[in-house]
């Protein structure tokens, strides 16, 4: 199969490319640009559109296995494709937990059969995510896990954390950390501040994250492991990461896209759609996270996609489940950062392609000749309104419903196959 995507603006941050031209694809790989003699089986007209590498999302729940009533690998990878995302990283907090090769095989088999995006599995750092017994990381790596993480169940025991980081380092496995001090965060529902005081909701102080970032950084440095911090939410965490990077420690970090637009104030009067973990913080945190994105301390933006059934949000706030369905708004909200002057376009696309690829050492996120042809084509001027009924994801739980978005995906190619056409 030979495809040519004609006349678009090619943006490939990995190669510093930003120019108009034709992208030629043959046998699932990038064949080259503007090839003169390239008889194509299929032509996509990309006039007025942007052609970039397929997007990479470092954290997205598919809910399968275990909670198929919230989402399946089929439904959520379909949503990913509709959002221009071709690679998803699945955290290990599924049911059962991804702590054995059998579960990795199960996920990969379903993904091969039904997936419309590539699914990368992140293995559990400890058995059952219980924080006590480290997993068979070599076996998990052999089964295909790209990294290890204890998901959003941070290790309380620093000795277990130290040893699991050292063990992962011995195997050359990167670690994904979600920094939260379990005691300071215990029982908390939203940011500890003005809104938690008003609403009488138990708070999660900013220091619950900052203390854990500080602790984890010290152990990461000692273990010499390649570490990535997922979903930072506070200005103080950003400072600690920046300082560690300046000292030459190989750490990277990402931010969930909703943290760049929403604050504790959006919880308003108990809006359960803004119940998310880590919680929405303050305006100054939001600004520090945006600044960290601009200066490169934060190298990736993820969706932290957490689809839910309607009932999960239909209860008094403390009884609702945290999480936002975010795959389909990841690209337009990232593009909005360009409009708001936070980032130039190529850097914004870099936060969704090269940034995440480098963070976990993934062979994706580029339009280099010979690379796998994962491609996203979008119309940067198309405006649309987020409407629950029109989301592909099974999870309609997004606080962005009713928001005007600019930028709409028209074609998504996965290894040269058209997996979405809008």
């Amino acid at each position: 199969m030979r495809i040519v995507i004609r006349g678009g603006r090619l943006v490939d941050p990995a190669n510093g490319v930003d120019r108009s031209g034709d992208l030629c694809i043959a046998d699932g790989r990038i064949a080259g640009f503007d090839l003169a003699d390239f008889p194509a089986d299929h032509t996509i007209d990309a006039t007025g559109r942007i052609v970039c590498p397929g997007l990479i999302d470092l954290r997205a729940h598919t809910r399968e296995p275990g909670q198929e009533y919230k989402g399946t690998i089929a439904s959520e990878t379909r949503a990913a494709a509709a959002g221009g995302i071709t690679t998803l990283c699945l955290p290990p907090d599924t049911a059962p937990v991804i702590d054995s090769p059998a579960v990795v095989d199960l996920v990969n088999r379903i993904a091969d059969e039904k997936g419309r995006a590539r699914l990368h599995v992140i293995g559990a750092l400890t058995q059952g995510l219980q924080g006590e017994q480290i997993t068979e990381m070599h076996a998990l790596k052999e089964a295909g896990c790209i990294a290890m993480s204890n998901a959003k169940q941070p290790l309380a025991n620093t000795l277990v954390l130290r040893r699991s980081l050292e063990y992962a380092a011995s195997l050359g496995l990167p670690i994904v950390l979600h920094a939260e001090d379990p005691w300071l965060a215990a029982g908390g529902l939203i940011h500890e501040g003005m809104v938690s005081t008003r609403l009488g909701l138990p708070g999660i102080p900013a220091c619950a994250e900052t203390i854990a970032v500080g602790r984890d950084l010290l152990l990461v440095e000692q273990a010499g492991v390649r570490a990535h911090f997922g979903q930072l939410s506070t200005a103080a965490s950003v400072e600690l990461i920046a300082e560690a990077q300046a000292r030459g420690i190989p750490v990277t970090a990402d931010v969930a896209i909703h943290q760049l637009y929403l604050t504790e104030l959006d919880v308003g009067h108990f809006n359960a759609l803004c119940h998310v973990r880590p919680p929405l913080r303050m305006q100054r945190d939001l600004e520090a996270l945006r600044a960290a994105l601009a200066d490169g301390v934060i190298s990736a933006v993820c969706s932290d996609h957490a689809p839910h059934d309607a009932d999960a949000k239909l209860a008094p706030f403390p009884a609702t489940e945290p999480g936002i369905s975010g795959l389909e708004t990841l690209l337009p909200l990232t593009l909005r950062l360009v409009d708001e002057g936070v980032l130039p376009l190529s850097e914004a696309i870099g936060k969704l392609t090269t940034g995440p690829a480098k963070a976990l050492g993934l062979d994706a996120g580029t339009l280099s000749v010979g690379a796998v042809a994962d491609v996203c084509v979008f119309d940067p001027e198309a405006c649309w309104t987020v409407d629950a009924d029109r989301l592909q994801s099974r999870g309609k739980n997004t606080p962005f419903i009713g928001w005007e978005m600019k930028g709409r995906v028209t074609h998504t190619l996965l290894e040269g196959d058209l997996v979405y056409e809008g």
């Binding site: 500890e192 938690s196 005081t197 008003r198 138990p202 009067h269 009932d311 008094p316």
Partner: protein, 326 residues
């Protein structure tokens, strides 16, 4: 946002969920409407026919004797039919029936008002957002969030003793962190224009951002009580005395318990209030609770009048219109 839900398009009370967002006019109207009801309990026939034919369901997801009883009496004195449902111990809660399903069932029985007490902050807002349009919701306490009728009966009691609010210094003492009563009192006092609202307690029991509600924070009770006109003591739950919030009941009483000696620092005409039930010797000494400055039992009787006012307003019946309605 809160007031949009609570007021109808004409600005009249529809639900009563929180004091926050309601204006001084509405709060004053509640206090004014409660005045004539304060006498009803002393009449030979303790009833007015304002809510005849209305059905009010008391939904108590958390057990309570005093609040439920005063709501029940208030409804009965307004001639409404009352349904008491204690869900904390009922079969529905244990069967895992969802909150919404239960509401739908009660709506199908043509209830006009739900009085809701729930252990989770935001429960009353949630219910008000999802009830049928003809049903009014009164928050009888949700988690740590709000207890607006308690705050209004406290304002009623203060006004009866002190007149206007603008000259008053009020101190709220104790466990602000976990108190829905304190949150509602703070909003009510600042909205009604009290000169100064102080909160007094150890840092472990005061939310860090409480200053954003417009209060002054004191950790030294002696300093905080100086020259105040009203002292409101909060109940300290027993479970707060375990763990890292407080070392012991003894030390708490020593630092923050109200004794006659500490009360002497306040204005000589200061009144002492407590939402009840009181823990003698924990937050308040018996000599103060039973002393001449205490208005604690008055608060209880006023509770019935204020709840009658709120219920009749939310169901569109003003006391002044008694004749036409009857």
């Amino acid at each position: 946002m809160g007031d949009k839900l609570q007021l109808d398009p004409q600005g009249r009370l529809r639900h009563f969920l929180t004091i926050e967002g309601l204006g001084r006019g509405v709060l004053t109207e509640i206090l004014d409407n409660a005045e004539p009801f304060a006498g009803v309990g002393g009449q030979g026939v303790k009833k007015v026919p304002l809510l005849r034919g209305k059905t009010i369901a008391n939904l108590f997801f958390e057990s309570s004797t005093r609040t439920r009883t005063t709501f029940e009496l208030a409804a009965k004195r307004l001639s409404a039919d009352v349904l008491n449902i204690n869900i904390a111990t009922s079969a529905s809660a244990t069967k895992g029936e969802s909150l919404l399903d239960m509401l739908r069932n009660l709506e199908a029985m043509h209830c006009d008002m739900f009085v809701v007490r729930h252990a989770e902050s935001g429960a009353a807002h949630f219910i008000a957002t999802h009830v049928a349009p003809h049903v009014s919701v009164i928050n009888a306490g949700d988690g740590r969030h709000a207890h607006p009728t308690q705050a209004m009966l406290d304002m009623f009691t203060i006004r009866r003793h002190k007149g206007e609010f603008h000259n008053l210094r009020v101190a709220i003492v104790g466990d602000i962190m976990h108190s829905r009563v304190a949150r509602s009192q703070i909003h009510a006092l600042t909205t009604l224009g009290a000169a100064e609202v102080r909160v007094i307690g150890p840092k472990t029991l005061i939310p860090p951002a409480v200053g954003t509600l417009g209060v002054h924070v004191f950790h030294d009770m002696r300093e905080g009580l100086r020259d105040v006109d009203v002292v409101i003591m909060l109940r300290l739950q027993r479970e707060r005395m375990a763990g890292s919030l407080l070392p012991s009941a003894q030390e708490y009483f020593q630092l923050y318990g109200l004794t006659q000696k500490k009360l002497a620092l306040a204005d000589p005409n200061a009144i002492v209030m407590h939402p009840g039930p009181i823990n003698r010797g924990v937050e308040i000494a018996s000599e103060v609770a039973d002393g001449p400055q205490s208005v604690i039992l008055e608060q209880v009787s006023n509770g019935i009048a204020v709840r009658m006012a709120v219920m009749s307003m939310a169901l569109g019946r003003q006391p002044g219109r008694t004749e036409e309605e009857a």
